[in-house]
Symmetry: C2
Subunit: 96 residues, 2 copies
Amino acid sequence: MLVLITYDVATSSAGGTKRLRRVAKKCLDHGQRVQHSVFECVCDAATLAQLKIDLRNIIDEEQDSLRFYILGKNYRQKIEHFGVKESYDVEGTLMF
Amino acid sequence: MLVLITYDVATSSAGGTKRLRRVAKKCLDHGQRVQHSVFECVCDAATLAQLKIDLRNIIDEEQDSLRFYILGKNYRQKIEHFGVKESYDVEGTLMF
């Protein structure tokens, strides 16, 4: 199934940029980075459960916000994109 | 149905902050801002079609990225949140 993960982190805060980089790296084990702090991961229920644990260990729950959206198996027709198609590497740098 | 809208905008670019504010204002007509550039809107197909037109008129498709995810009607069990529960006003300011 596809799981959308959105991560709101204050990158201006101490460690924020590092946390975003670590979240990105973990998500990229299972999918792709589609926006600066939006990730699409393909995983089964067991992998998702572990991913939640791993990400919650990375983020600062006092400062950051992390949301999971289950898009299921038939997700292709549920997604629409407009504007630039960017690819991010794990560091968050734009790659053209 | 619930539609998730994620907006990647370079707020450091000329006009980026203004575009984000305008996107937020438009989305808030139909739902809530759950993260800095993530919006959950409840609308029917016709409203969604108009919302897409309106948002595409606001964003800069040469610079920005806008994604729509259709979460359907039974969305409550598809969403999970961790970390801070923030409320944003339309200006993007944190409200506690």
